[in-house]
């Protein structure tokens, strides 16, 4: 049976910088397992001649020419920034 272990839930949570309670770990393990199970139904089909599809459209080579366009003004840049220090975004120490 496809599923996800408790350790895997904790691992994914750490990667996402999420702190989960024990109750949440259990709940997400259940929900994520259901999702994985649903999706793994696809593997019951014979797809040996179907290439992996990362994009729904059969297109390639969508470019932009290397021509500069105006950037935002600083007011626009910082309109939703939680903290600003002159021209910089200010964030907790990395």
């Amino acid at each position: 049976m496809a599923g996800i272990s408790r350790d895997e839930v904790l691992h994914v949570a750490r990667l996402a910088r999420l702190e989960l309670t024990d109750e949440e770990v259990g709940r997400f393990q259940e929900q994520l397992s259901e999702i994985i199970e649903a999706i793994s139904k696809v593997s019951q089909l014979d797809l040996s001649d179907v290439p992996p599809t990362a994009h729904p459209l059969e297109i390639a080579n969508t470019w932009a020419e290397d021509e500069p366009r105006p950037s935002l003004t600083l007011d626009e840049v910082f309109a939703n920034a939680p903290d600003r220090d002159d021209g910089y975004f200010r964030v907790p120490p990395a």
């Binding site: 691992h11 750490r14 990667l15 910088r17 990362a54 994009h55 459209l57 297109i59 390639a60 080579n61 969508t62 470019w63 932009a64 020419e65 290397d66 021509e67 500069p68 366009r69 950037s71 935002l72 600083l74 840049v77 910082f78 220090d85 002159d86 021209g87 910089y88 975004f89 200010r90 964030v91 907790p92 120490p93 990395a94």
Partner: protein, 469 residues
């Protein structure tokens, strides 16, 4: 030491000098005020969509061709996921299992034949923003906040990964120099180490000589000088050998080589290392490099530096050929020689004196420089240096400097020398008493008196003669 062999692989990042960023049309360039070269795409505003820069794709292909890579028929952009303040999307758009260029090689000429280094891949990705760490007392360690400038965020990088085909620090350094010169000549990047437009990481391991095992490697990160890289590699090789010989094991770790401290302290290990959860970026479509574009780019690549080193080494020593080519001086050298200068003399002037002027070789009129090189022995050193410093000026001519002949006539120099000896009886006495170092004092006085026009060899000889009298 001799029963160990080092195994070295390199990972190089080169910042492309396109006009705009990799996935948006913000300007790509140094020097803008912080965050003035940003937009919804490179700031990761919700819903903003990336569009690949055609020129960056072509330049990556061109570099791949120069490195003898296979160009993929289909290449894909992936998301590399991690959290850091310099990465507003929380992923970097990079390439993973379908890179633009793979399976190439670069042959590094040496006096004893080529060292051929496999190129695993060369792919496109976007650069991260610049973090400035601030503390109460200034911008140092133990920061209280991080300030972020997204101007660099999203600018195009080519990442080049080599096979672990290098076995000593000097070869690694030469590989990097040759790669840098290749990138510069293809006009893809300034590849300036000090500015960070070329950066590289080095993987080092050691193994018993003759074995083909690959042992645990350590990574030297963010080095910004070829000489420091060579030093860091040597140090790390010696350290690993010491660890094994004392019965220990080498731990996988990342070392940050800090030239100021001349050692490689361990950096904080990245938690959850290597779990980047790559997946194809659904916002971007695959790249299918058109055959005609690839062939056009192939046609734009001239004779590469490695080939030129070998060709020039037929005329000059290998060392001179290498210095001229990796210094970007060989084309000027060839023009100066074609204009009549003696090859070895021209190489010496270019590699030792011209290079110190900082003048761009392309700004120089080779015919005028050739006249100067040919007259080097006959004109005063000061006049030669002055002329050389002006070879980059528009309309420079050598003629006025060539008229300033060196004074090598003893009859003309002797009265001056006698006058100086008479004026400095104390020093003359000390010289006669055995203080040979004072010869330089007298020669210097004569050179000063003659405005640098005297031939130092003749002055030396005559001063010695006169003091002995």
């Amino acid at each position: 030491m001799s029963n160990w062999e080092a195994v070295i692989g390199l990972e190089i990042h080169v910042q492309l000098k396109t006009r705009t960023k990799m996935f948006c049309r913000c300007p790509n360039g140094f020097g803008g005020e912080p965050n003035t070269q940003t937009c919804p795409v490179c700031l990761a505003f919700p819903g903003a969509l990336p569009v690949a820069n055609r020129r960056a794709v072509e330049e990556c292909i061109k570099l791949g061709l120069a490195l003898d890579c296979e160009i993929a028929e289909r290449a894909v952009f992936h998301r590399k996921n991690y959290f850091y303040p310099d990465l507003p999307k929380a992923y970097q758009i990079s390439q993973y299992d379908e890179p633009l260029c793979a399976r190439g090689k670069l042959a590094v000429p040496t006096e004893n034949g080529d060292i051929t280094v496999g190129i695993t891949r060369a792919h496109l990705e976007e650069d991260a923003a610049k973090n400035v760490h601030v503390a109460a007392s200034g911008r140092i360690h133990g920061a209280t906040a991080t300030l972020v400038d997204f101007n660099r965020g999203g600018t195009p990088l080519v990442e080049i990964v080599t096979e672990p085909d290098l076995h000593d620090a000097e070869s690694a350094k030469r590989f990097l120099q040759l790669l840098r010169q290749t990138v510069v000549e293809l006009d893809l990047s300034d590849a300036e180490l000090e500015k960070g437009s070329m950066r590289f990481d080095v993987n080092v391991s050691v193994r018993p000589a003759g074995s083909d095992e690959l042992r645990t490697r350590t990574e030297l990160k963010n080095m910004n000088s070829f000489n420091f890289a060579a030093k860091g590699i040597e140090r790390e090789i010696a350290r690993q050998i010491r660890v094994y010989e004392q019965g220990g094991i080498v731990e996988q770790e990342t070392l940050h080589f800090d030239p100021a401290h001349e050692e490689s302290p361990p950096m904080r290990s990245k938690e959850e290392a290597q779990d980047y959860r790559y997946f194809p970026d659904p916002d971007l479509v695959p790249v299918h490099p058109p055959v005609d574009v690839v062939e056009r780019l192939r046609g734009e690549i001239g004779e590469l530096p490695g080939a030129r080193i070998k060709r020039i080494a037929d005329t000059l020593s290998f060392y001179d050929a290498d210095v001229l080519v990796t210094g970007g001086l060989d084309r000027l050298w060839a023009d100066v020689v074609a204009a009549g200068a003696e090859p070895k003399e021209a190489a010496n002037v270019l590699a030792n004196q011209f290079v110190a002027t900082g003048i761009a070789p392309s700004a120089v009129n080779a015919a005028e420089l050739a006249k100067l090189v040919s007259a080097r022995a006959e004109i005063p050193r000061a006049a030669f240096d002055e002329a050389l410093a002006k070879t980059g000026d528009a309309g420079f001519t050598a003629a006025p400097y060539l008229e300033q002949k060196v004074v090598g006539d003893a009859a003309e120099l002797d009265p001056i020398i006698e006058r100086i000896i008479d004026a400095n009886p104390g020093q003359a006495e000390q010289f006669r008493g055995g203080k040979q170092g004072l010869l330089g004092f007298f020669v210097g006085q004569v050179m000063k008196e003659t405005g640098g026009k005297a031939d130092p060899r003749v002055v030396n000889e005559r001063v010695r003669e006169k003091l002995r009298a």
